[in-house]
Amino acid sequence: MNVSSLTIAFTLAWRNLWRNYRRTLIMLLAIGLGVWAMVFMTAMMRGMVDGMLKDGIRALPGHVQIHHPNYLDDPSVANSIAEPQGTLLDALNHPQVDAWAMRVKVPAVISSERETRGVMLLGVDAAAELNLSFDISHITQGQFLPSLTEEELAVDVQAQKAAKGIVIGVKLAQKLETRLGKRIVVMTQDIDNTIVDRGFRIVGLYQSDIPGFEEMYVYSDRRLIQSMVGLKGQVSEIAINGDGYRDNQALLSHIANASPADMKVESWRQVDAYLSAMLEMMDGFVLVWIVVIFLALSFGLMNTLIMAVFERVREIGLMQALGMRSSGVMRMILIESLLLLLLGLAAGNICSLLSIAAIQDGIDVTAVAEGMAMFGAKAVLYPVLQYSDMLLANVVVIVLGLLTSLYPAWRAAHYDPIVALNKH
């Protein structure tokens, strides 16, 4: 086939398309709507899951975590691991690791003069924690724990005081009817299963956008907690972040290879099965949604083409009588369908890009915030457009669309010219 015949085929198809402009416009509207719905809905769902994952991993925290093998099932101070040394420490300071922190994380009971709550007591190194998961802008009153070395701590009396403080959530403070500067008592179990308690001064209050988080976690200095529960040189977990949550396989094996045998190294996918299942379900959902919408479209597309062929039976017969091959007829119809699909795709893609840009600041769904929290999602939904999803939608529409057109095109190509010419 040479260039001019291809040009003619395209011109012919283009002009045919506009012979019945109403029909073409309705079909374009349908394809445009379908493609918009595919891309827009996918972006919203991706945005929701993305938010869930980011929050979830921030709350865990860490893309990869190291624990005592029994810790996750039984988060007790007895199931602790040694602070990283040697090869593990080298591996953690490798450029492949974005941030890491070790933490003592034990269940505790916290009491003010008036109320008592169950919480998770975190003993953290301020600098590492800020680097890994804690957002300093979430502190609403007071300050986060000071980041100090042992030497500084030994000299500075003011710092010593601050380091003995505790940072709790705003909601927890409300429930405990306490406030910044007040003292609270934390009770937990030490390594010998003796109940230990200790008074802390509240040095900071924080807010979290993760549901339930600020009532659950209280932060204090790691060394302080270690001495309180009698852990020498041991922590509950080591949390490690790489460069993204999607692919942690390299990071996982990098850390696992360097860890002693008595530590369990897991990625967030193993630690939180729900989040991991959500991520995988999303990929399935995107494909199913795109195909379902396409199928709903395909009936209309096929009908439109069948009609387009039917009303031109005489014309097609004439073309064939004049020597056009059936492959030529088929090509003409397929090009017509291709043009229709491309126009519809263009319209749908543009609309989806525009609508996603329009709600880039997020949709506020505060009205159902607690329901969203049950799914682990936030009260503001942000669309996240993955170009791979958009590409998938376009490829599905073109490929399946042309497949759908094969039948009308094949029929058009196989009319008997004589019969076709005598029609009507």
């Binding site: 099932d73 988060p75 949604w289 919408i293 709903a296 009936f299 769904v365």
Partner: protein, 419 residues
């Protein structure tokens, strides 16, 4: 059969293939709608049943500040009297009172901070499914009615907590907390049962004691944190709410007690349903619109190709509105066919999943999070079977307005000359 109906029916089958393809578009969407809606509605019902039945109950009577901020001191005096009055006023037996606080529980080797719930062993099984979920030992027993005898110090706890505390039946747990008056509260209770609610968050964090022992331990004699009440009709609580509110106003005017129904107790459930429904509504809306476009196109074609015919009919004296009526009759017939076939096939597919169970990868983890079974068995209901298809049918008929309007613009003379 009247002539218009017959005409419309025959017209429909002039292009068999086209009509069937349009009907197929409807059927495709309808089947999807029926199945999806059946699954959704079924799972909502289960979410409500499981989430409320497990522990929280459908209605609670609490101090007015308790919901916002469950403080131990915001409680109810003489709960038994209130329970009795409620039983008389509502004719319901499914009422029980509970005391709730936090405490540190310790076994020989472990300690955890947990929620401690004091329950009435006799009536608790009527408002919660936990007593029926005992996997080892037994549930709490009603203490002897003898006065001045120390209450029985026994405790049941969740499976995960028992494992973490490394305790079994007959082992002793030490409880440490603060009493209602701020005093130090300490006691030792024997483990008599272990329950498995299959909700790790609950199995990890809750222990239950007899209410009288609870009151004794936490210095809250004759008090309860709230009264819980179950009804056979969780979806129609308005009347009951009003009755109880009135009763409280009469009998306990000074105590600022409030009726809280499940929507207030667990707003997450209704909101989760709303959130899920609204995203589903978007998807269904798109599907329905796509079908409507398909119908619009088909009917437009069918009008345009009959221009000559319509011109002739109008020249013979047929009023345009009768042709418009004809188009709507045709569309309605097609839409009815699509609705019936879609509803029947959809119901059949739902019935299939009702028998074998519906499953998709990842559902297990979702189900675990919401305390639902791992496979889902949707019920075929009239509502779920017909609501979607009826919407599709209405949308299809609306879509015929544009093609039908074309007829009104027809001029008989030029129409008859049209090719």
């Amino acid at each position: 059969m009247n002539i218009e109906l017959r005409l419309a029916w025959r017209n429909l089958w002039r292009h068999k293939k086209r009509t069937w393809i349009t009907v197929a578009a409807m059927v495709f969407s309808n089947v999807l709608l029926v199945l999806m809606l059946s699954l959704q509605l079924g799972s909502y019902q289960m979410m409500i049943d499981n989430a409320l039945g497990l522990f929280s109950g459908q209605i609670q009577i609490q101090h007015q500040d308790y919901l916002e901020n469950p403080k131990f001191r915001d409680d109810i005096v003489h709960p038994q009297g209130l329970v009795n009055t409620l039983k008389q006023a509502t004719d319901l037996e499914t009422i029980s009172s509970r005391g709730v606080t936090f405490a540190l529980v310790s076994s020989a080797s472990r300690s955890y901070g947990v929620q401690v719930v004091g329950v009435e062993p006799q009536s608790e099984p009527l408002v919660s499914t936990i007593p029926g979920l005992i996997i080892e030992g037994r549930y709490l027993q009603a203490s002897s009615s003898k006065q001045n005898e120390d209450p029985v110090a026994e405790v049941v706890l969740g499976k995960v907590l028992a494992r973490n505390l490394k305790v079994g039946l007959g082992d002793e747990l030490t409880l440490l907390g603060s009493g209602r008056d701020g005093s130090f509260a300490a006691g030792v209770a024997t483990v008599v049962g272990i329950f498995n609610s299959s909700l790790p968050a609950l199995d990890r964090t809750m222990i239950q004691l007899p209410l009288d022992y609870f009151q004794h331990l936490f210095a809250s004699e004759n008090r309860a944190s709230y009264v819980v009440l179950n009804t056979p009709t969780p979806l129609e609580l308005t009347q009951l709410n009003a009755t109880i509110a009135e009763l409280l106003a009469q009998q306990r005017p000074d105590e600022s007690l409030q009726v809280r129904d499940w929507d207030a107790l667990q707003p997450g459930i209704r909101q989760a349903i709303q959130a899920d429904l609204s995203s589903a509504a978007f998807m269904y809306g798109v599907l329905i619109l796509l079908v409507a476009f398909s119908v619009m196109n088909t009917q437009l074609m069918s009008v345009l190709e009959r221009t000559r015919e319509f011109g002739t009919m109008m020249a013979l004296g047929l009023k345009p509105w009768r042709l418009v009526k004809l188009i709507f009759l045709e569309t309605t017939m097609m839409a009815t066919l699509g609705m019936l076939l879609g509803a029947i096939l959809g119901a059949m597919l739902t019935q299939y999943y009702h028998v074998v169970g519906f499953y998709y990868p990842g559902m297990e983890e979702m189900a675990a999070k919401f305390n639902l079974p791992e496979r889902f068995y949707p019920d075929v209901t009239w509502f779920a079977t017909f609501i979607g298809p009826i919407f599709v049918m209405i949308a299809s008929i609306i879509a015929a307005i544009y093609p039908a309007l074309k007829i009104r613009k027809l001029d008989p003379i030029s129409a008859m000359r049209a090719v």
